[in-house]
């Protein structure tokens, strides 16, 4: 409707060239001033810090170049284990989260046990600190020496993360399902779709879309929490840094480990921001329909 009001042959957008030049100039000036201000700030703060009496010791302990070069490759290597834990845990968390969310909303009286179980699961695992679950499973289960049950620390550490995060993600999914207006269910049912078909084709696709941003946040949090598995002993990046630090009494390896985590979470955070902004835009557009 909007474009059709202009005369045929007229351009879609038109700027007065003088106005446009002025606008460009101002944008360039703003960018320059911003950069100069930021640079000045960094220089002043950097200079002030480097002049404090404690700085040489801080630099020696946390930002030691040769120490960094010596430990960083080993840290990267160890970090592969964190990546593995994350890649295995995340899909399992999504599956468990979704199934538990669905189970909590079951209405059939025959399936009441499932609903009760799912509710209990969420109540328990949301209440207990993740690190406690890791201790319980990682040290507790192998101590039972059960036949046919793995007693490998990485396995139980990952399982503990999955159980802990599964409870959170279940609640995220449930909030997503609740955010789909009830008129959507009514419309689907009135077209003859069964309750199951309605969930599958109408409610869930919308619910999942609504919870992508909070899910991405949980992913970021999980990336960091893979380091918790270190308490069980496997040499992942934090454990490796600990080993390095304790042999030299230098903490540069910890800083190296922190850099590795940051290098992974920053792109993920930016991606989450981008997704959120895009969805907000879509929603405001949809709001006019």
């Amino acid at each position: 409707m909007s474009a059709s009001t202009t005369a045929p042959g007229a351009p879609e957008v038109y700027f007065d060239p003088v106005r446009q030049a002025h606008r460009r100039k101002r944008a360039r000036r703003d960018a320059l001033v911003g950069m100069a201000s930021l640079l000045g700030f960094v220089l002043v703060v950097g200079f002030a810090i480097s002049r404090t009496s404690g700085w040489p010791l801080v630099q020696e302990t946390f930002f030691n170049g040769s120490e960094f070069i010596a430990t960083f490759p080993g840290l990267l290597d160890a970090f592969l284990l964190n990546v593995r834990i994350f890649l295995i845990a995340e899909p399992l968390i999504l599956i468990i989260g979704l199934l538990v969310a669905l189970a909590r909303d079951l209405r059939s009286p025959l399936l009441l046990p499932l609903r009760v179980l799912a509710t209990l699961y969420v109540d328990i695992f949301r209440g207990v600190p993740t690190i406690l679950v890791i201790f319980l499973l990682g040290f507790g289960v192998p101590a039972l020496q059960l036949q046919g049950v793995p007693n490998n620390a990485v396995f139980w550490g990952t399982a503990a993360l999955v159980l802990s995060y599964g409870a959170y993600v279940a609640e995220v999914f449930r909030a997503g399902i609740g955010s789909v207006h009830s008129s959507q269910r009514m419309a689907a049912r009135s077209l003859g779709l069964t309750s199951l078909q309605t969930s599958r084709y109408v409610i869930l696709p919308q619910a999942v879309r609504n919870v992508v941003p909070p899910l991405l946040n949980d992913f970021i949090s999980l990336q960091k929490d893979t380091a918790l598995v270190s308490v069980l002993g496997p040499i992942e990046v934090l454990r490796q840094a600990q080993i390095d630090a304790s042999s030299t009494f230098n903490y540069t390896a910890y800083v190296g480990a922190a850099l590795i985590f940051i290098a992974l979470t920053i792109p993920m955070t930016r991606f989450a921001d981008w997704v959120q902004a895009r969805m907000r835009k879509r929603r405001t557009m949809a709001g006019t329909a």
């Binding site: 049912r189 009135s190 779709l193 949809a286 329909a289």
Partner: protein, 246 residues
């Protein structure tokens, strides 16, 4: 010799101790277009929702085509809803699907028809209501009038025997009401049986075979549009019409 399609008899329905329908009777013949009028809160929406089983009645019976008891304890409501279509005031299109997918979803999943067949049928219907160009758009790109016509097409794709319209033009910009009413007129001419709640008295007068005035949970007065609008018998009807036609 009449040919009753839907028979509503003695239907009661209460919400929290407040009876909205109080033993309401209404029977609609095949190919008939019945318009429900009445004050806000008189139970028009509730009645329509009971007819296709979105609400359970408290007492009474609703029978479709003499063979399907909508109010039966053992009735499969999914079967009822396949045979009775409903369109709401708020179009309730599925925002994550294109117009075409909105229309083909239930024929594919409920009637188990092939995707190609559903597509052809949907395109024919969209064409008929001037929406063919919108087939691959998402609902957020439609005007209110287009969205409501898509909702009508979506209900039609299930080939219902009876169609219920609940104030389908109330949410629309006045400029867009006409195109939706044209669609209803077209359905009426095609011989579909219709029950619609509306506040568009001019339209009711034009397309209705029969106008029913709902008050206090019953059909207080009914007759041809000429009779009900021209010479209403009941005081309540006169008051209502005086208010709304003013």
């Amino acid at each position: 010799m009449t040919d009753t399609l839907i028979d509503i008899s003695g239907v009661w329905k209460a919400f929290d101790d407040h009876s909205v329908l109080r033993g309401l009777d209404l029977s609609v013949d095949r190919h008939e277009a019945v318009v429900l009028i009445g004050a806000s809160g008189s139970g028009k929406s509730t009645l329509l929702r009971c007819v296709n089983g979105l609400e359970n009645v408290d007492a009474g019976h609703i029978t479709l085509d003499g063979n399907l008891d909508v109010t039966g304890f053992k009735t499969d409501m999914d079967v009822v809803r396949r045979r009775i279509g409903i369109v709401f005031q708020s179009y309730n299109l599925f925002p994550h699907m294109t117009v075409l997918d909105n229309v083909t979803l239930s024929p594919r999943k409920v009637l188990k028809r092939s995707a190609a067949e559903c597509r052809d049928q949907a395109m024919t219907l969209l064409q008929r209501f001037g929406l063919a160009a919108k087939a691959s758009d998402y609902p957020d790109r439609l005007s209110g009038g287009q969205a409501q016509r898509v909702a009508i097409v979506r209900a039609l794709a299930m080939e219902p025997e009876l169609m219920l319209f609940d104030e389908i033009t109330s949410a629309l910009d006045p400029l867009l009401v006409g195109e939706v009413l044209d669609a209803v007129r077209e359905l009426k001419e095609g011989g579909l049986t219709l029950i619609m709640a509306t506040h568009e008295m001019g339209f009711a007068r034009e397309v209705a075979d029969r106008v029913c005035f709902l008050d206090a949970g019953v059909v207080l007065e009914q007759g041809t549009p000429a009779a009900v609008f021209g010479s209403p018998q009941e005081e309540k009807t006169k008051e209502f019409l005086a208010r709304i036609l003013k």
